[in-house]
Subunit: 261 residues, 2 copies
């Protein structure tokens, strides 16, 4: 994973190591990390030691393996409650889920990837990969495209560079050109579709969550299956979804910056 760009300073390297540990699904030995990284032995060793001492990693003394530490969980609890839209959006998601009866996703953008921060399952739950905290691709999901469509040129460029354009299904937009054309259509239309571009049989209609100043905060989607409904039927809900998105945005702005106005 030398894909890390410019690791600024020691902090960047330390976080890089953190990601490295996270990328394995299980505790890793020192030598595994050493093989994977470009850092010299002593450097990596001290980074691990520091992170462990700080509680960001946990060293299993029996096996000599490193795992992500509990301090991270604690920080994340705060991050989820504070930085994400999830706590603000919760009642609105409930409302949208109740009114549509479909699966709802709330997502935010994280370095070119879609991060699902909350979710409501339909009464008959649609089995999907997405769960709170999980990440997914931006170029082939409704929420991803909705956010890209309203992203700043710089953010869009950065995000594009990070897309794999892997062809998940026949419908996947598998080149930057196709995606850019689609983004324009989405802007014109006001909402994005997922036409089975990521998973066969899964469709959705997604809208961006925008501040008054036009900045993208996240996206909201109503998801279903081709077996249950059609894109046209989902599009009928677009108005309602946009309304909910607007209310989330309004509350986010007033809640996070209550002193303004």
């Amino acid at each position: 994973m030398g894909a890390e760009g410019h690791a600024d300073g020691t902090v960047g390297k330390a976080l890089d190591v953190l990601d490295m540990v996270a990328s394995h699904g299980r505790p890793v030995r020192f030598s595994d990390l050493l093989a994977q990284s470009d850092y010299p032995k002593a450097t990596l060793y001290r980074l691990l030691q520091t992170l462990t001492h700080q509680g960001m990693l946990a060293l299993d003394p029996d096996q000599g393996t490193y795992a992500l530490g509990v301090r991270l969980v604690r920080l994340a609890h705060a991050a989820w409650a504070q930085s994400s839209l999830a706590p603000i959006a919760r009642p609105y998601l409930d409302e949208l889920a109740a009114k549509t009866g479909e699966t709802i996703h709330l997502a935010q953008m994280d370095l070119g990837q879609v991060l699902y921060v909350d979710k409501r399952n339909a009464a008959r739950p649609v089995e999907m990969f997405a769960q709170a905290g999980k990440v997914g691709p931006a170029y082939c999901t409704g929420v991803g495209k909705a956010m890209l469509a309203w992203a700043t040129p710089e953010a869009l460029e950065q995000a594009l560079a990070r897309q794999s354009f892997y062809r998940h299904t026949d419908h996947t937009l598998d080149t930057p050109e196709k995606l850019l054309a689609e983004l324009q259509a989405i802007r014109a239309r006001g909402h994005a579709f997922d036409r089975e571009e990521h998973e066969r049989g899964i469709i959705c209609c997604a809208v961006p969550i925008l501040t008054r100043s036009g900045r993208v905060l996240g996206a909201l989607s109503v998801t279903s299956t081709t077996a249950r409904t059609t894109l046209a039927a989902l599009e009928d809900q677009a108005g309602l979804t946009k309304d909910i998105a607007a209310r989330i945005a309004a509350e986010a702005e007033s809640w996070r910056f209550p002193e303004q106005n």
Copy 2:
């Protein structure tokens, strides 16, 4: 919160800043952080910049406020799935909750504090970070005492130094001496009680989760209220709880280190 002890190196300071941002429940301005920290202006500024650049913090360009970044949520997802006992323990917690009908807590130790990593409420279903990720004191909770009772001497010493011994209720063990005596009794007995030591009316019976080598992985508790039941009744469940704890430990060992033996 200058309570941070020895911040080793730049990484320590950066994480310290991260905690500082987390401690406010909402986005903070640079000057707020400056006032709170001992770091000089330029130092703090660059730390914030680095963390922001790394995605650990998010700078709201409109308001100039810092919030915890989404990268943390992503890392946490991995941490929760990997470092904590929660995913392994899930079915066992379900079983224990079903058999006892009481509230169940799964906790781990984090630098002298109890970190709740999963929970079953008597009725409601669970969500991810929503419930997990909270912290509590070690010296006056069942799970905390259960873990301390089997902690290594070094870990115990470190943990003791971090306890506040604040007298939450009449029953709180408010000195290290009382606590140490209690820990001995707990070791002898095999399980810990919370006799309304943290909250009036709340009682529980907790057991440690131990590896074969005797290392503490976490603790498990069955919690109720004095209105609903008694300590003696809870103690009747201790056998079942210990059994569940043993099964969690066994699975944790075989799952996390499948190559051994």
